[in-house]
């Protein structure tokens, strides 16, 4: 299983990476949406993208839309992981094509339970 963590915070990327690696994922990193699109292309196939909302160059919502515009990537599960916590924002992300939504701060257990919901961890 392969995942990518997309966040402009190196610390958050490290936390997500550590948790995912602990579950057996191989993990790529990207600091914004534009870099993420390139990395996904290079490292394809990828099973999961964990995506922050507020990032320079291309934000998380734009990235989700870009991902969902490509039918060849439809098998990739996308989860937003963000400090944005209004219901309207959550709905916007889901409408854009995110499969799940995790609010920061989150703990390891919350991340793992979201992966169970996504069918990536049993």
């Amino acid at each position: 299983m392969k995942a990518i963590t997309v966040d402009d915070s190196k610390t958050i990327r490290a936390i997500v990476k550590r948790t995912l690696k602990g579950l057996g994922f191989e993990v790529e990193e990207a600091e914004d949406g534009l870099v993420a699109l390139e990395k996904i292309k290079q490292a394809w196939p990828i099973d999961l993208a964990v995506v922050d909302w507020n990032m320079p160059n291309m934000n998380g919502i734009e990235l989700v839309r870009e991902i969902r515009r490509r039918p060849e990537w439809s098998g990739m599960r996308v989860m937003m992981a963000t400090t944005e916590s209004e219901i309207s924002q959550m709905q916007l992300a889901l409408e854009a094509g995110a499969d799940e939504y995790l609010m920061k701060p989150f703990d390891r257990e919350a991340l793992e339970q979201k992966l169970v919901l996504l069918g990536l961890v049993v």
């Binding site: 916590s85 209004e86 219901i87 959550m90 709905q91 992300a93 889901l94 995110a98 799940e100 939504y101 995790l102 609010m103 701060p105 989150f106 703990d107 257990e109 919350a110 339970q113 979201k114 169970v116 919901l117």
Partner: protein, 271 residues
């Protein structure tokens, strides 16, 4: 904690809650009593034991509540909820077609995530139940937990755990920094305290009972007694959900395990 204090504490806990605390779980006393020591300005565990021996009623309740409250999450373990949605509830609906009433009992509901998960699942996937009388009785030993369930308010950390985002967006609203279950879901629940070891008064006849990860804490004779009492409130042919590591085997022959993957679901024999 010295041996004499530990012995007193475990005996006290067993008498009040039925829970048999093993010596290997002594760390639970340290971690769970720490907030109480701080709040009540009690110096250490030895002093706590002295206070408990003195019979301080409020303190006794606080200690039992702290020792018996468990971490939980929405849709915990997934499989029982899948079984409830795909197999059990459709059977119950078919059976209750004429009566149009369904009673569920979440018998150790802690902070309410289990009964609310059931209520949300019923709203989301069974619109045909809109005109039915659906009630989920949520009981717990702890007054504090029952109050929390009644309020239906959760922290961000709690709603992050196990609850699919589309359901969070649909069935909750923001209340300051917290999240509250919407009224149309909350009204499906009836919440009250109940000590499983005491007499059960006013428990309605249920179609399905959830009592997951509770029996594991009890001695076999207590498990038998509880399973026997559940038989009296579960309608014949009704369903019982236990935790994944729990069973009625060698405890009560009136229940039969259903072959539904990892659901922990049992059916009570027909009358």
């Amino acid at each position: 904690m010295n041996d004499a204090d530990f012995k007193f504490f475990t005996t006290f806990l067993k008498e009040r809650s039925g829970i048999a605390l093993e010596a290997s779980k002594q760390y639970l006393i340290d971690t769970r009593m720490a907030p109480i020591l701080k709040e009540k300005k009690i110096a250490d565990l030895a002093a706590l034991v002295v206070a408990l021996k003195g019979g301080d009623k409020v303190l006794c309740e606080m200690v039992v509540e702290a020792m018996t409250t468990n971490e939980t999450s929405f849709f915990r373990d997934v499989s029982p909820f899948d079984a409830f949605r795909n197999e059990i509830l459709p059977r119950v609906i078919e059976r209750k077609e004429r009566e149009r009433k369904i009673q569920i009992w979440s018998a150790a509901s802690s902070s309410g995530q289990e009964p609310y998960s059931l209520a949300i699942l019923m709203r989301e996937h069974f619109p045909q139940l809109a005109g039915w009388g659906v009630n989920i009785l949520a009981t717990d030993l702890s007054k504090e937990m029952v109050q929390k369930t009644t309020n239906g308010e959760y922290s961000q950390l709690e709603v992050n755990r196990g609850l699919p985002a589309p359901l969070l967006a649909k069935y909750f609203h923001r209340k300051g920094v917290r999240w509250q279950v919407n009224d149309d879901v909350r009204k499906l629940l009836t919440c009250r305290t109940l000590n499983l070891l005491e007499n059960w008064v006013g428990i309605p006849t249920a179609d399905v009972v959830f009592i997951r990860n509770v029996l594991i804490y009890f001695e076999p004779d207590v498990k038998k007694a509880i399973l026997g009492k559940i038989r009296k409130v579960l309608r014949p042919g009704g369903y019982l959900f236990l935790g994944g590591a729990e069973s009625t085997l060698n405890l009560d022959s009136h229940y039969k395990r259903l072959d539904i993957a990892r659901s922990g679901c049992f059916q009570l024999e027909e009358a």
